[in-house]
């Protein structure tokens, strides 16, 4: 059995600079035993994909507060497919109205965690669903 920890990239795509949520979740996942890499702010989708490949992460977590979660997620999923890394699980968190959750899942986000989701729920979901590459 593979005992190495799950490796997750916490990413801040686009121009939104609100990183409280991303950093707090990064702390929590680290405490839950995962290996966490945080991209820092203002990353393009291409940059995120590149880091995900370089670091060979199992999961890409997007944190989006600006309301642009749908176009950004769509772009990331498409790019991941093009780069042949669509085996990596994509999850999305941030200021996300409930009505957008089904749309995000349809686009290819495996898990969606609006602000206020308990850490245990996020970590539990990732533990259960991430496929280690």
């Amino acid at each position: 059995m593979d005992t190495r920890p799950i490796k997750i990239l916490v990413a801040k795509p686009g121009l939104d600079g609100h990183d409280r949520g991303a950093k707090v979740v990064a702390h929590a996942l680290k405490e839950a035993g995962m290996e966490v890499i945080y991209t820092g702010l203002h990353k393009t989708v291409d940059q995120i994909i590149r880091i995900a490949i370089q670091e060979d992460v199992d999961v890409i977590g997007l944190s989006i507060m600006s309301g642009a979660h749908i176009p950004i997620t769509a772009k990331l999923v498409k790019k991941a497919r093009e780069e042949g890394i669509d085996d990596k699980m994509i999850v999305v968190g941030g200021v996300i109205p409930n009505r957008d959750i089904p749309k995000l899942k349809e686009l290819g986000a495996k898990g969606v965690f609006p602000g206020g989701t308990p850490f245990s729920e996020i970590a539990g979901f990732i533990n259960e669903n991430a496929k280690k590459s």
Binding site: L15, R20, V24
Partner: protein, 542 residues
Amino acid sequence: MGVAKYTKDEKDRITDVTLQSGIHVKACYGPEDLEHVGFSYEKDLAEPGQYPFTRGIHAEGFRSRAWTTRQYTGFGTPEESNERFKLMISHGQTGLNVAFDLPTQMGYDSDDPMAEGEVGRVGMAIDSLRDFEIAFKDINLEKIGSGLTINAVASIMLAMYQAVAEKFGFDPKRISATPQNDILKEMIGRGSWIFPVEPAVNLIGDTIEYSINAMPRTNPVSICGYHIRESGATPAQEIGYAILIANAYIDNVLKRGYDVDDFVGRFSFNLNVFGNIWEQVAKFRAARKLWARNLKEKYGVKKDSNMYLRGLFGGGGYGLTKAQPENNIMRGAYYALSAALAGAQTIALCSYDEAYTIPTPHSAIISLRTLQLLMDEIGLRDTVDPLAGSYFIETITKEMETKIEEEMAKIEKVGGIVQAVGTGYVQRLVSQQAYEYEKGLQSGELKKVGLNIYTEGEPMDVELHEYTGESAEKQVESLKQLRRERNDREVLRTLKELEEATRAGKNVMPYLVECCKAYATVGEMTRVFRDVFGEFQEPGLF
């Protein structure tokens, strides 16, 4: 720290309270507590309108002037924002607080690939002076002051505000803009930074220096403890960091050979309101006092009115919940109450739907009505500093002062705020605190109605502001039209002059005004700065 701590016995009686800033609260206060903290009426309180201004900056408080109501507004195209501005003014709002979209805040034009999906989303899209001409159409800029929520490119927006005022025939000496213009706080929280620390602070120095003569009624910088708190800081850290940041901007202008009394009177503050009501009131009162003392003792400020901490006390975003959103209306009312009890000059509230998206007209007007109701209906204008003299409030105001000073000392110890932001030290302190707070919220140690207690009941739904790509398309179209119609030679000439001035280390403001008047775009002007200054490299991680 983390969250406020309440200890209870087996009968659910509260046995101990410690506020978020670390202040211990007792069950009852009396004269001995004032004695214990060394309270002196003359030194710590004095009359309202007198140094150290603990009781407020005006002798008669809200009797002489009610607070300005200034809801954060703006979205879509300049046309749509202009309509909303006028709606808010028609409902009695007395100042504007302009929201810009992310591309504008980050210095990208609406047709830049970096702007994709973001044009007009969280604020209005501004590409050139033509957009300002539409956004501020039919608004009397000599009567209505405008807060401009812009930081990295605040110098550009301030120049554009002057240009639009002149175009409309208003005297720049009589207009009042309050660009946020606080880049150090962007680097601590909020994240709309572009340039490295030093040139970014220097741009702020340029706007302050320029405003002294060109726009003397403008408040060129609004120091935002607000976002630092939103990012996780405690109330004591919020004020401590804000004062240190303000000092960094003062130092920049002093180096240029000015007397501190020439400019510091135009500084203003933007502070947060959520949390324990007593802690907030104590925080605002202690902040006024510490700011005045800092200016008098450290900088030798002479004129009393230059020592005023004038503030927008408002927002409260992080206190609001997505769960049971209508409860946020009540939260907002109590937050505004704490601001009013503490003598705010300006109040704005996050609207109840802001945990979802930007406000609808309906929710924005509820926030405005909340502020009007406090002002005109329940007696908050009756007397100045109504909580003064309370054994409890005066004791914790003194204690808050000490806590703030402790937070300031920690930063001074590692080389000061500019250094501490550059290395990411402050960011790490704040994010650690945010994590502790979140854990407190999730464990139920911090109680939130509708979120972790009293969660039963009907699910509440909110009507949400809709973003459509249409505004973005319109904006890009109108930018294309501008590029066709403007005088390219004039654009190139003014941009070239801006570049030369920037490289020569001159004050860029007059050059920016010329660029704006030639209809150079925000992206083009920012490009000049990006080329000369480079970009901020984010330190530390989390």
